[in-house]
Amino acid sequence: MDLLTGILATTFLAGGVLALAAMGEVLAERVGVVNLGAEGLMAMGAITGVATVAAVPSPALGFAAALVVGALFGMVFAFATVTIRANQVLCGLALTLIGTGLANTIGRSYSGTPSAAVFERVEVPLLSDIPILGPALFSQNVLLYLIYIVLPLGLHYLLFHTRHGLNMRAVGENPAAADAAGIPVGLIRFAYVTAGAALCGGAGAYLTLAFVPAWSDGMVAGRGWIAVSLVIFAGYRPVNAVLTALLFGLITSIGFVGQARNWPVAAPFLSMLPYLGTIALMIVPVLAWQKVRRLMAAPAALGEPFYRDVR
């Protein structure tokens, strides 16, 4: 019983990082921009969270600061990829190097000490007493409700049930047609790349303020890249992205349980599971069902800059 509760609780806690970053990536990719800088944005968010709570012990402020820093870096990225229309892959890789390098440089003075303030668990009255599910779902930090309920449902509604969401998807599928219909392609791309980057920054702060409450060098450890892959697997849908993130939370928590219970597998091999699992998720579904490709296809103009005068 305890084991099951523990696995579930860790699943939700660990999945939160990926869910938040993946939703940010969904926003950017739905409007046609691949942001491969998620890893770097998360690193910046993580160190911003730690540095902010070290100055003012408020986790909410730390999270907000990380959102702002993510948005600022997102604007620089959007300026390059949307305004100037530079190569998105190169700019994304560059953003990853900048974010990771800068965060590790700033982080040297915070390394090893626990975060000064963290998001505390909140017990929801009555609900947290439900056996097994209660402690896992209703005795967690408040951010989880934002990540698993408010954001996915809100983004789903925005993307698929509003006029504005239709415009967003049009910009990602066929910017020339969207432009002809009077939709401000550049503005929409700029805005949602920035918003997506803010969520990636938030995911970093979630990492240091709720999940692993301390900064260490290279602690993002590829989670940004896993989030980018999840988006592909989730067919660019926010709710699916969150569900897939939960699957990865489960893989991570199985690794934790294995280490805690001294399974006869060395810890580094358990740590490999999320990466290998991601690769399997990228390959196996497409192998198994060719139809998946059409159903879950990327926005048609993903990765392509829009030149009004050229076409």
Binding site: L36, G40, A80, I84, R85, A86, N87, V89, L90, C91, L93, A94, L95, T96, L97, I98, G99, T100, G101, L102, N104, T105, R108, D217, A221, G222, W225, I226, V228, S229, I232, A266, P268, F269, S271, M272, Y275, L276, T278, I279, M282, I283, V286, L287, R293, Y307, D309, V310
Partner: protein
């Protein structure tokens, strides 16, 4: 003021402008770093002079610098080769690590004379690199799975694997080290000072790759498949087969780089052996605009930047700061490449 002028976007990059943009990108980042140092109370000019003298005025400095050139040329070549057919090998870091891992296995556990073991070590490194890129290659060629992400994710797996063996089963029990294997007994022969034969071999590999791509039928087909896959397929070129061979070759080169680093420079397997060489290789390839000859020069340039970071460590600059600076150069280069598509025309010009 701008009336009478307008911009025209050309379909391809103007190479001269693209090169000038690269120089400008590096200049801007170095200037920004100098200002940051100035604000931190350092004297950037004195540091710069110290850098140049520390690198070039002593044999010791030249050796350190030269040893960095070897892996950077090779990882840059690895990325550049993959780019010939339009594939992104962001996994040179992982292939480098597994190359070093496989080389260590031979170096530690296969007895024999050096003339036999050394080629075996390099072959093992090459094989390690190929094995590590095999799954991303097949997934890309047959199912169209984005190789950029799969190759990258395997970097983390490779790092965990190397960490595991060098702190666990292959740990150096005699030398009381907890984080590296024992020293392998076979070494790359020296070429100049401490710089081993990996340097001339790396340069020869880059030249050979450039020659094969430029003059062979295979190279022509690869370049055609890279610039227009559908036209190549229509012309009867086996694009899929070329994607497979090019990606495997890219992995092989990175694996060889790992084997050279192990057998020539570090001599024992340890967690940090890859030293971001794989990621910096992306930079080397991009700066060279994916020219296989160009990576020789940009590899040297990148080695100088990385070496500067190592020398300046006492001044608070870390390899992380170098990584961030590299990213900034890459970012500005990407912008510069886009701007290099444009040319300014006077209104009414007949060349529009």
């Amino acid at each position: 003021m701008l009336q009478g002028l307008r911009l025209q976007r050309l379909p391809s990059v103007q190479p001269g402008i693209a090169l000038a943009m690269r120089a400008l990108a590096i200049a801007i980042v170095v200037l920004a770093a100098s200002i940051a140092l100035l604000v931190a109370g350092e004297d950037p000019l004195a540091l710069g002079a110290q850098l140049v003298s520390a690198t070039f005025s002593s044999t010791f400095g030249m050796e350190d610098f030269g040893l960095l050139v070897i892996p950077l040329i090779l990882t840059g070549l690895s990325v550049a080769v993959g780019q010939q057919i339009g594939t992104w090998n962001i996994g040179a870091e992982g292939q480098f690590l597994v190359g070093a891992f496989a080389a260590t296995a031979v170096g530690l556990f296969v007895p024999g004379p050096a003339w036999l073991i050394l080629p075996l070590i390099i072959a093992a490194g090459a094989l390690g690199g190929v094995v590590w890129i095999l799954v991303p290659t097949l997934a890309r060629a047959f199912v169209g799975v984005n190789e950029l992400i799969t190759t990258l994710l395997l970097n983390f797996v490779a790092a965990l694997l190397v960490y595991y063996v060098s702190t666990g089963p292959w740990r150096d029990r005699v030398g009381m080290s907890n984080s590296s294997t024992a020293r392998i007994t076979v070494e790359m022969p020296e070429f100049w000072g401490l710089i081993h034969w990996g340097l001339p071999i790396a340069i020869l590999m880059a030249l050979a790759a450039a020659a094969i791509l430029a003059f062979s039928r295979w190279g022509y087909e690869v370049r055609l498949s890279g610039s227009n896959p559908s036209a190549a397929a229509y012309a009867g070129i086996a694009v899929r087969r070329h994607i497979i061979t090019v990606m495997l070759l890219s992995g092989l080169i990175a694996g060889v780089a790992g084997a050279f680093e192990l057998a020539g420079t570090v001599h024992r397997l340890q967690g940090g052996i890859s030293n971001n060489f794989g990621y910096l290789g992306i930079m080397v390839a991009v700066l060279a605009r994916n020219s296989c000859v160009g990576v020789i020069f940009t590899g040297i340039l990148m080695a100088f930047i990385l070496n500067s970071g190592i020398i300046l460590q006492t001044q608070g600059i870390t390899t992380s700061a170098v990584l961030a600076m590299t990213g900034a150069i890459l970012f500005l280069t990407a912008i510069g490449d886009e701007l290099a598509h444009y040319r300014i025309l006077r209104a009414g010009s007949t060349r529009a």
